[in-house]
Amino acid sequence: MTKRAPDVRSARLSREEIDRNFADLHPPLRRPEALIAADRCYFCFDAPCTIACPTGIDIPAFIQKIRSDNIRGSARTILEENIMGGMCARVCPTEVLCEEACVRNTHEDKPVEIGLLQRYATDPVLAARTQLFERAPSTGKRAAVVGGGPAGLSCAHRLAMLGHDVVVFSRDDKPGGLNEYGIAAYKTVDDFAQSEVDYILAIGGIEVKNGVSIGEDVTLDSLCKDFDAVFVGVGLGSVNSLGLDDESLSGVESAIDYIAELRQTDDKSALPVGQNVVVVGGGMTAIDIAVQSKRLGAERVDIVYRRGPEQMGASEFERHLAQINGVTIHHWAAPRRLIGNDHVSGIEFERTKLGTEGRLTTTGETMRFAADVVFKAIGQRLADEPIGSSIETERGRIVVDDEQRTSLENVWAGGDCVLGGDDLTVSAVQHGKVAAISIDRHLTEDTAWPT
């Protein structure tokens, strides 16, 4: 490998080029398109798409309302099951959820465009800030929600609807969680994440305290004392390390942190971008950082994943997106060594293969990539100082029952931080909703905590 100075600089592309590259990935349907797309829905019995939706949106019902030009009614059908139906319409991997289940696939390989239709129905309601739900009479009960991401906001909204007062404690400067800080920029343009947060909060009864970290600024114990119920939706705070020496080399970065910076900056052309970028990982975050690096002007972007395509967390659609953006995906290689003195200049991988019982083994064969930037995108884990040591966890995640109840009385949890969380906004929203319904039941009925 030839020695050369690290090439990491901003403004690889003009601002105009970058604006173009970060425009809406799936532009919204216009009315004629939406009406024709809606006409393709067969209004199935016990619809497979609805069964496939983690939040159980009655998809044929909302599409029928699009057909009959009842957009507000359509949005109500969506939002009553999923208050983040707008964001989910943009970021859900519909190709492995509702659209994969669509019966149209059988003979046509072209499902009803459910995601785009959901956006068509929800966009006008959010843009006009039309409130479709009213709060029930006050119960006088107070709930704390820890975490301002999809799980927390979903829980808070449903609790507020049910007449409870809610305080949301958010670690960040503004609520939204990964919707605000984590999702690829071209999936949620025009500050949609904050518009959606504003819409959710507008129901009333929800106070948001930003910049408050659990374990540092407040403790779970104190929240349990001060509130009638606590919901924990803190996500996964820490990024997994590669487990290599020299991970502190400059240029070795967390994909999550970089994306957060990218999402918050006013001028993407000012972001430092490597000429050669290597992404280690195989999930959605790996695709997001790879594609966004390419769209910021990186010359060469490689994703390296230690297993095969079938094991990747990124869906086929996401992998295709990476490929058409000029990203190369390499399989069956695990990181072994970072190369470089102060700044990373390359990374060495060792070829892997499946051994007995499906265990990954190494082959001894190595390969090297030149790298000005190495992104770690190999997953996250619950922050080291989570929420109190007394709560039961397993494999670094909080254990919950089917009502999202934890081992601690009056403490519920949901989203990525719980066991069974799957890094999807839509699942987090469902956890929050299910927890809120359970909280409401516990607060209004005499229900014993399960032991």
């Binding site: 009406l35 497979p48 019966v103």
Partner: protein, 433 residues
């Protein structure tokens, strides 16, 4: 390619597709364009007395659309021609001269007195027109003045006017019937009794399209007020087919040539009309929706169809399906069919299940051995064809005749013998023989 040329009342035309009397045939300019495009004939937009009537200067048409804006049904409140009679006569004369191989029929609507008919018909015939069509069908505007459908709804008036027309004209007379009657046979018989050479049907159906959802007033409107119009387009075809078949299969009216009209949109619709007894067809809405070029699909499709059927002339198709139309009481009640779902074609949408469950006979499963699966339960299936009608996959659900053995639903042995209601034991009025 099968030759489509045909004769109707001795009038030759290169194909059986005539433009119906309507806005497309109001002027020589339009008719000339139509003939250039290949239409076989035209029934000139209805002439009346001078001074001409006046049309509204506002919306005359509106439509029922599918979500991709395909026109399914169409409505109009336009009246007969609003141009001076002489202008029309001059243009008809010129068109017939320029297009001698095309049928040029003139539609007329006149007040109910014999002198008027005796005065105008010879003037019109002098243009060289091939036939008259008496407009006893227009359901709006003119009917308020005692013409159009107001005549067509009273068989005695039809017969009277047909007689006047026949005595004033030497060319054939076609009576155009209104569907706005309880029974089409008395008007058809009256036309025949009055000496008419043929009937044409249907004219448009009384209709109001909808309201305006903002103002909650009728739509479309003229200065805030609306009036009912005439409904046409593909939505009305089944109504027209029934009336055509009734005339064709009823002894008193059968044998009278029929010009079929009502929602003909593609060549298959023409096959329906011809097979059910029409000798040619007239088209308006399809042209008003797509322009005259649509004639190419109509003629090409019909010709190809005749080739496929081994037929060399349209006349071989005319009336072919008439013997298969009968009264309900003659249907064979011993005949049993069951629906069959082709599991290889089934996409598991479940529409067959839910409609059968909700609105019919609970004869389709939704789960079999714990799997989402839709199968017909022969013990419940009455063979109603609802599942076939709603299934989104063509030929996925078909009907299968049961022959021999018992009908699992009724437990009754299936008989080869025919049994209709006239002889059914449940019929207290059954015929004993």
């Amino acid at each position: 390619m099968a030759d489509l040329s045909c004769e109707f009342l001795g009038i030759k035309s290169p194909n059986p597709f005539w433009l119906a009397s309507a806005p497309p045939t109001d002027k020589a300019y339009n008719v000339h364009r139509a003939f250039e495009a290949g239409w076989g004939g035209a029934v000139w937009k209805t002439l009346g007395e001078d001074p001409p009537i006046v049309n509204v200067s506002g919306p005359r048409y509106s439509a029922i659309h599918s979500n991709d804006r395909r026109v399914i049904g169409f409505n109009n409140i336009e009246l007969i021609t609003d141009r001076p009679l002489q202008t029309n006569l001059d243009e008809i004369r010129q068109i017939k001269r320029d297009w001698p191989d095309r049928a040029v029929v003139v539609s007329v609507m006149l007040p109910m007195n014999e002198q008027t008919w005796a005065k105008y018909l010879p003037m019109i015939e002098d243009t060289g027109a091939d036939a008259f069509e008496l407009n006893f069908g227009c359901p709006h505007g003119m009917s308020e003045r005692g013409m159009g459908a107001a005549v067509g709804q009273v068989p005695e008036y039809i017969q009277m006017a047909a007689e006047w027309a026949k005595s004033a004209a030497s060319i054939p007379v076609i009576v155009k019937l209104t569907p706005n009657v309880a029974n089409i046979l008395p008007p058809a018989k009256a036309a025949k009794d009055g000496g008419a050479d043929a009937v044409s049907l249907i004219n448009t159906i009384n209709s109001i399209m909808r309201v305006d959802y903002d103002s909650l007033t009728m739509y479309p409107a003229t200065d805030g007020m609306g009036t009912h119009g005439g409904y046409c387009g593909e939505a009305v075809k089944p109504i027209a087919l029934n009336m055509v078949a009734e005339i064709a299969r009823t002894k008193e009216t059968s044998g009278m040539p029929i010009s079929g009209i009502g929602g003909i949109t593609d060549w298959r619709d023409a096959v329906d009309f011809l097979a059910l007894g029409a000798s040619n067809v007239q088209v308006c809405t399809a042209a008003m929706v797509s322009g005259f070029k649509i004639i190419d699909d109509l003629t090409d499709g019909l010709s190809t169809f005749l080739d496929d059927k081994g037929m060399s002339a349209v006349s071989e198709l005319v009336g072919r399906a008439v013997p298969s139309v009968t009264d309900w009481q003659y249907l064979n009640l011993n005949y049993v069919e069951k629906a069959v779902i082709d599991q290889d074609l089934c996409i598991k949408c479940g529409r067959c299940h839910v409609v059968c469950e909700d609105t019919s006979h609970q004869a389709i499963t939704h789960t079999v051995n714990g799997e989402r699966r839709f199968e017909v339960i022969d013990e419940e299936c009455v063979g109603c064809n609802l599942c076939v009608s709603v299934c989104p996959v063509d030929r996925c659900i078909t009907m299968r005749q049961l022959t021999g053995g018992k009908d699992p639903r009724t437990g009754v042995e299936i008989s080869d013998e025919k049994l209709n209601w006239t002889h059914h034991p449940n019929n207290p009025m059954r015929q004993q023989d």
